[in-house]
């Protein structure tokens, strides 16, 4: 057995041991897309009506633009952006000698600082969202595929712990809404299962594209908890856990949600 597949088994065990009550059979998993009205589903499906495609278009132009002291474009190293197919499906992941896993936006910023010798883009900046959007778009309809890397296991476990931990003034955990009450109504909204497959996502509430970190922050504010700063390890751990939970589900990015 290769190290990779051993890690895969270990990771699976860890997740099932840390959160036995939360395991969902793949057939029961459901994208929030299916809870939207037909008109919003059509908005997501139609590339010319999905506003998230404007960020993808911007990202495409940025992909070929020379940046930083190294005067290199993304394309100079990677070739056409289409070569990124499947990449977003594997993140968060370890990258190079970085001691902690990073999400895709952080990975793009590592490319900027290490290879382009440019400044990292701020979280939620139009530039970072656009590059993340165009890279993720290349994985549309591909299954979420967290890497079989044993180093990820403790971080996935930390994410699972965070997901089930009560917090904030409302003393709620993520799981209480998105596992125990998923599919039920909160006011007029159907509570989704919280799969990370549409990010970066165009939320009508935001009237903009936004990252999964922004959405997690949004939930923490809703729970009346102190949100972690953008880029915090806690977000990456949650992103990792959500990816492991959504393994195999097809990527929709850029999704549209109310």
């Amino acid at each position: 057995m290769s190290l990779g597949s051993a890690g895969h088994v270990l990771l699976g065990l860890l997740v099932s041991l840390t959160a036995p009550a939360l395991a969902q059979a793949p057939g029961e998993r459901r994208s929030g897309y299916h809870d939207m009205s037909p008109s919003l589903q059509a908005m997501q499906d139609d590339e010319i009506a999905n506003p998230g495609m404007l960020w993808v278009l911007d990202g495409e132009a940025m992909w070929n633009r020379k940046q930083g002291a190294a005067a290199k474009s993304c394309a100079d190293c990677h070739g056409a952006v289409s070569t990124m197919a499947g990449v977003a499906a594997r993140y968060p992941a370890f990258s190079g000698a970085n001691p902690r896993p990073v999400d895709l936006a952080q990975r793009i910023n590592l490319c900027r600082t290490d290879n382009q010798k440019a400044d990292a883009y701020p979280y939620e900046s139009k530039e970072l969202l656009s590059l993340t959007a165009v890279v993720t778009r290349q994985s549309k309809d591909l299954p979420i595929a967290p890497p079989a890397d044993p180093r990820l296991a403790p971080f996935v476990a930390a994410g699972a712990d965070l997901f089930t931990q009560r917090q904030g003034q409302l003393n709620l955990s993520c799981a209480q809404c998105h596992e125990d009450n998923a599919g039920r109504k909160l006011a007029a909204a159907t509570i989704p299962q919280a799969h990370p497959i549409g990010y970066p996502i165009y939320r009508l509430e935001w009237q903009s594209l936004g990252s999964l970190q922004r959405r997690l922050r949004n939930c923490l504010i809703g729970m009346r908890a102190e949100p972690y700063a953008y880029g915090a390890d806690e977000y990456v751990a949650l992103e990792l856990y959500l990816a492991s939970r959504a393994r195999g589900m097809p990527i929709e990015a850029p999704g549209v949600r109310p």
Partner: protein
């Protein structure tokens, strides 16, 4: 911010005060909004007081929307779109946004089909009115009621 163009709506305040929807955030918003009177005045501006006939116009808009920030809307007018008999303009108005205008589209026989679409903003549940201005000087109209629900978990201003 989470309540674009929303006038001081008491429902939001009520919900925020009730335990079941404690996640809703209340922010003070300007109280300006269109009224049936300002809607009528805006319509008179394009019709010049001429009679609005029922028919010819179809307004395709979802009856229930999850968020009023982007509501898909389609207006279609029955017309041969010939040089002699065509639609000159399509006007759309709303009843309860801060102001009554949505859009005015000026087309002509070259359009071939008198159909326009747009994503629009609705600040609250309300009536949307579509009017077609024909080449013979007549006006035709229809309207639709849209219920706008409020998102349960919204983000505070950042």
């Amino acid at each position: 911010m989470n309540a674009p163009m929303r006038p001081a709506v008491s429902r939001r305040g009520f919900l925020a005060g009730s335990g079941a929807a404690a996640m809703i955030t209340v922010l003070p918003v300007t109280a300006a909004h269109a009224t049936p009177e300002t809607l009528d005045a805006a319509i008179r501006e394009v019709t010049g007081g001429k009679k609005l006939n029922a028919g010819k116009v179809a307004l395709d808009i979802p009856p229930l929307v999850e968020n009023g920030n982007a509501v898909p809307m389609k207006v279609s007018v029955e017309s041969p779109m010939s040089a002699k008999d065509h639609v000159k303009a399509i006007h759309v108005f709303n009843e309860k946004n801060p102001q009554p205008h949505v859009l005015n589209a000026y087309i002509g026989p070259r359009a071939g089909k008198a159909i326009v679409q747009a994503h629009i903003k609705l600040a609250d549940s309300q009536r949307v009115v579509a009017i077609a201005e024909l080449s013979d000087g007549t006006f035709w109209s229809t309207s639709a009621e849209v219920i706008v629900t409020i998102a349960a978990c919204t983000e505070e201003v950042t």
